[in-house]
């Protein structure tokens, strides 16, 4: 599990992304993040066709810095899935704006894992990351919540 590393975050002086379950105090000073937000980074897609997981390659994630993520797609039973396409979207629901960049899958890492480059968060708060997965069982979507 990824956790905030306060000392490094403090040294950098830049807020880090808190991905640990339920820790949303960081956003409390700005618009409050809804209670009970599902912060799981590993979940079933909306239609139940796949299981998807996301993991940042940088820890902590630094606001304003370009970085990469890995997306893993499996069947609900855990078999790696070879997808045709993963569309990436997202934004800040409380601010009404999308992602500041246009991230893309740039590499098939094998074993159902895909490299997503071009991720950036330009401010703290509640972000969503929406994946549109097109795979052998059809198209499905999944939304992840992140609190910066």
């Amino acid at each position: 599990m990824l956790t905030l590393t306060p000392r490094r975050a403090l040294l950098l002086g830049i807020p880090a992304l808190v991905l640990a379950g339920g820790v949303v105090a960081a956003g409390a000073m700005m618009r409050s993040v809804p209670n009970g937000l599902d912060l799981a980074l590993d979940k079933r897609t909306a239609g139940g066709l796949y299981k998807a997981a996301i993991a940042p390659q940088a820890n902590p994630i630094v606001v304003g810095t370009m970085h990469a993520w890995t997306v893993t797609v499996q069947t609900p039973e855990g078999t790696p899935v070879k997808v045709a396409r993963i569309g990436i979207d997202g934004g800040m629901p409380q601010h009404g704006h999308g992602l500041p960049t246009a991230p893309q899958v740039t590499k098939d890492l094998g074993g159902g894992r895909y490299l997503v480059e071009g991720m950036k968060f330009n401010m703290r708060g509640w972000w969503t990351l929406d994946l549109a997965i097109e795979g052998p069982k059809g198209a499905d979507t999944v939304t992840f919540n992140l609190v910066l």
């Binding site: 403090l10 950098l12 002086g13 000073m29 009404g96 246009a102």
Partner: protein, 413 residues
């Protein structure tokens, strides 16, 4: 009697200590939570990372290039009328800006001059982000018909005549320029544009390389222009050690609290430069008489088409570089009339504000964000804050703590 006096004095001492303790507990600085302190320190210069490398400019950190760039920055020969240099609008003694709503070169522009300190940290330049490096930014005004007003062969000839030795020591031999037209370039002046069209492609490319190198030298100089320390930075540094008392006034501290809290300023004005380096529609009015300004919606397309961008033939970047350009958000309604978040360092000392200097005072800027008017086109991201008069005054007081300390930032360039 003596004993009674001793008891009395110890009681008094105790009371004094108690009072001091209460005072310390109620001092604004000690009321920050751990998270608030981290937020405040994230805005301080201490948190500024080293200058990001610019792989598109191999001389970005070459002191000889910076020296050449410094000379070019002040050289009025790089203009149509021999009177305009970069420093004409980017005045070193005025935070490298010019204090007027619309910049004036050989003619009148449609935008406010932006300051330069810390800009090397920004992935996109100009209010609409239409270039993606300091060096490609520097080229725009040189060719603009209302800024420097000159053209590429003119500038290449200036280099050959006045800077040959320095230029060649940094970039290698200049191409043979003597046989090329004195005035030629892809500019609005029809004669210069015609002469440029008539030049063989290899000659145009050779001149483009000299032109790009002029930008790269100016960029190397601009990378040396750093933001100066402020009273806010002193306060943020002292927060950790508990020696912050007396650095900021009560009003300034209250303003800082609004800045990171209710005011939501920190959403976009984040990090040590107090900008997210992104583009936002904040409902700033259009100036009557100026052409329609689409902001980032136009800038994103321009930077993609710019032959001097990070992926272009004049860039020194390698494979895998240029991620900002490769993964740039280029479409979407939120780009319409979105303009770059300016750094707030020194902002209190450089009215007027916004991309065309539409707002004259800091008080009116704060009023704008508090009332959140609708955008003339596209959609404003703002929501009304309904700040009281006191809160507005406190916010303005805080913003003034971001002014460079007296004597700082006035280094002679």
């Amino acid at each position: 009697m003596r004993r009674a006096a001793a008891i009395l004095s110890s009681v008094l001492l105790g009371t004094g200590l108690l009072a001091a303790g209460l005072h310390a507990a109620s001092a604004p600085g000690s009321r920050w939570t751990k998270e608030e302190r981290a937020l405040i320190q994230s805005l301080a210069l201490d948190a500024l990372p080293p200058l990001p490398v610019d792989p598109s400019n191999r001389v970005a950190d070459d002191p000889r290039a910076a020296e050449l760039g410094r000379a070019l920055f002040f050289d009025v020969r790089l203009s149509a009328n021999g009177q305009v240099a970069c420093a004409t609008c980017h005045l070193p003694e005025r935070q490298f800006q010019d204090d007027v709503p619309l910049a004036r070169g050989v003619g009148m522009t449609t935008r406010r001059t932006m300051p330069i300190a810390g800009m090397a940290h920004s992935p996109f330049l100009f209010w609409d982000g239409r270039t993606d490096s300091l060096w490609s930014q520097a080229l725009g005004p040189l060719e603009s018909s209302v800024e420097h007003g000159g053209n590429r062969t003119q500038y290449a000839h200036v280099i050959a005549l006045h800077y040959r030795q320095t230029y060649e020591s940094v970039f290698g031999p200049l191409p043979v320029l003597a046989r090329l037209p004195s005035q030629a370039g892809p500019v609005t002046d029809p004669e210069a544009a015609g002469a440029w069209e008539a030049m063989p492609e290899p000659d145009r490319q050779a001149v483009n390389r000299v032109f790009a190198n002029i930008g790269k030298a100016i960029a190397a100089f601009e990378r040396t222009i750093k933001p100066a320390p402020t009273r806010f930075d002193a306060y943020a540094s002292a927060l950790g050690s508990g020696r912050s008392v007396g650095i900021l006034t009560e009003d300034e501290i209250a303003g800082l609290r609004l800045f990171i809290g209710k005011g939501e300023c920190i959403n976009c004005h984040n990090g040590p430069l107090l900008t997210d380096n992104h583009f936002h529609n904040t409902g700033v009015s259009a100036t009557p008489g100026l052409p329609e300004d689409l902001g980032r919606a136009a800038g994103a397309k321009l930077v993609r088409e710019d032959p001097f961008n990070c992926l272009g033939p004049y860039s020194d970047a390698g494979e895998g570089d240029c991620s900002e350009l490769r993964f740039m958000a280029a479409d979407g309604h939120e780009l319409l009339r979105a303009f770059k978040t300016p750094s707030l360092r020194g902002a209190a000392g450089r009215p007027p504000y916004m991309h065309a200097g539409q707002i004259g005072t800091l008080a009116d800027v704060v009023a704008h964000y508090s009332t959140a008017p609708a955008a003339p086109a596209g959609h404003s991201e703002l929501r009304p804050l309904n700040l009281s008069e006191t809160e507005r005054r406190q916010l303005i007081a805080f913003l003034a703590t971001l002014n460079p300390n007296t004597g700082e930032g006035r280094k002679s360039f």
